[in-house]
Symmetry: C2
Subunit: 323 residues, 2 copies
């Protein structure tokens, strides 16, 4: 049994360098943007996305080391992720993320919208310099999907008729697309054959969906302190996630509380009680597990290497957050 942190060992040095590089890429022309950027990149992000790119790079590059282009790709991935978080916080009027104040809360909506645009723009410029139109399109598609995911999330608020497929689709757009497309981009930069580029994509896709499913589960099982936000805050905001979809099958009355947006006293407590009494949490774990298994099948198409092993260990880490 591999220790949970071990997959990070292989890329720890790379990741430390990455934070410095991203700050340099963002530049320091405007004090307020620099502050926003520094704040962002130090706000305790898990950096699982750049770690993933760097591991896929190691598993596919002939030297077993990430190339300079791979490192830039990892940085760009983190910039795109950060930009989308900043805009999401404006859209959701969030004051707190990961237990720290958001950019819009600290610096106002103006700076937050601009900081996001700025990061998206810088990532596009650096993407072009990687010299691959395919990689540009893969990562531009991610930005499109991030907006699409946020759109679906708004559209489906308090909608108890949400189909399970739509939930998975939204999870792909919001979380898995970035992992899928950036893993594929790492394989493309390593000139992998099409079949292995697909395998890289599928690994990222299934890992990403599992990651989102686990996040949706943690919303019900973690304490406020661990999450840095109130428990069941997704449900309070009308997000219909896997545990809720499963619980609705056992307790159809739950839909009444959701549809009236928990307006009556005790609604949210009753809803939480039903979700916890139902098979929803255990079935959600099982769903995450299924996607993890498919992620492992995909990554096993690559020849064995320490990086491949680290990517398998990483799936364990994603599940460890709940099991």
């Amino acid at each position: 049994m591999v220790s949970v942190a071990s997959f990070f060992d292989l890329v720890e040095q790379d990741l430390n360098q990455l934070t410095e590089n991203v700050k340099n890429l963002v530049g320091a022309k405007h004090q307020v943007l620099r502050l926003a950027a520094e704040y962002l990149f130090e706000a305790g992000g898990k950096r699982i996305r750049p770690a993933l790119v760097l591991l896929m790079a190691r598993a596919t590059s002939p030297s077993g080391e990430p190339t300079e282009k791979h490192r830039r790709l990892a940085e760009i991935t983190e910039m795109i992720h950060t930009a989308s978080l900043v805009h999401d916080d404006v859209i959701d009027v969030s004051d707190v993320r990961r237990g720290a104040e958001t950019v819009n809360y600290l610096f106002g909506n103006k700076v937050a919208v601009l900081a996001g645009d700025f990061l998206f723009a810088k990532s596009s410029i650096y993407l072009a310099r990687l010299g691959s139109l395919e990689v540009v399109e893969l990562l531009a598609t991610v930005i499109d999907h991030l907006a699409e995911g946020e759109m679906l999330q708004i559209k489906n608020q308090f909608d108890t008729t949400l189909a399970f497929d739509e939930y998975i689709e939204k999870s792909f757009y919001k979380t898995a697309s970035l992992m899928a497309n950036s893993c594929r981009a790492a394989a493309v930069l390593s000139d992998m054959p099409e079949e292995l580029c697909d395998a890289a994509y599928n690994y990222g896709r299934h890992l990403g969906i599992a990651f989102q499913v686990v996040d949706d589960l943690l919303d019900f099982t973690s304490s406020t302190e661990t999450l840095g936000k109130p428990a069941a805050s997704d449900l309070r905001q009308g997000q219909i996630t896997a545990p809720v979809l499963y619980a609705l099958q056992e307790f159809p009355e739950l839909s009444i509380l959701i549809q009236r947006e928990f307006k009556l006293n005790g609604d949210i407590e009753q809803a939480l009680d039903w979700v916890k009494k139902s098979q929803g949490l255990i079935r959600t774990k099982e769903l995450a597990n299924q996607h993890i298994k498919q992620a492992i099948l995909a990554v096993e198409k690559f020849p064995p290497s320490p990086a491949r092993q680290a990517m398998i260990d990483l799936t364990d880490y994603v599940l460890k957050r709940v099991f």
Copy 2:
């Protein structure tokens, strides 16, 4: 003397097609984004930016007609411009643009931030499909500059120590960069030699600066109905533009009113009076004229053609808005 509208004749059909194409490119998956997009592309924009790209395409392509890639580039240019307007209106909390309600006013900040991100993302995807990394980087730089220009505008509010160079720099970022880089991109897609790519860039750059300078002048000389916003609204918001910079040289007391953000009764009227009494308006016209002359010099490096003539006529149109 050519009629003001004549330069549009050459590209009128192209532009009608463009509006349809842009709507298709944006897609219609989400009702609210589709509404926002339709609203945007029909809100009476001058479409001077895609007209510019299409004229530069005609002046440089061997057939004298825009290629399919040129048409896509023109569409992308309009998408990027529109995305930046949508985000600017969120940032400036504007309710009205061009006499019509803004996206944030009609659909809320959430949709406006997402609609902008969505348009930026779609433009990056279509850019990659043009098959030129140089063109991707040119247009990604535009998005960066648009954020930079808005940042400078916020930073310099009510700052009467603003240097003239900084005013020109901000005008370049906000308005001229898109024209400069998209004109260059049209020449790049036509495989023009470096010298003519530079000429295309310089034409767009000087035309764009003149366009912004004229806009800044119109803020003082046009009626509320023509502008679709209150007269001198830039100054009220603390924007220090060319007429104000010139007026400050003659009436240094103006800076006191600006620095106290027109807090006292009669401040704004007194400020307007000084700007109008000063040589500011006439010197601003002269400034626009200088940039128009440099734009013409640049475009004259191309061999004579109806499209080249139209680009020269277009400079006349920019000035006609004031003279």
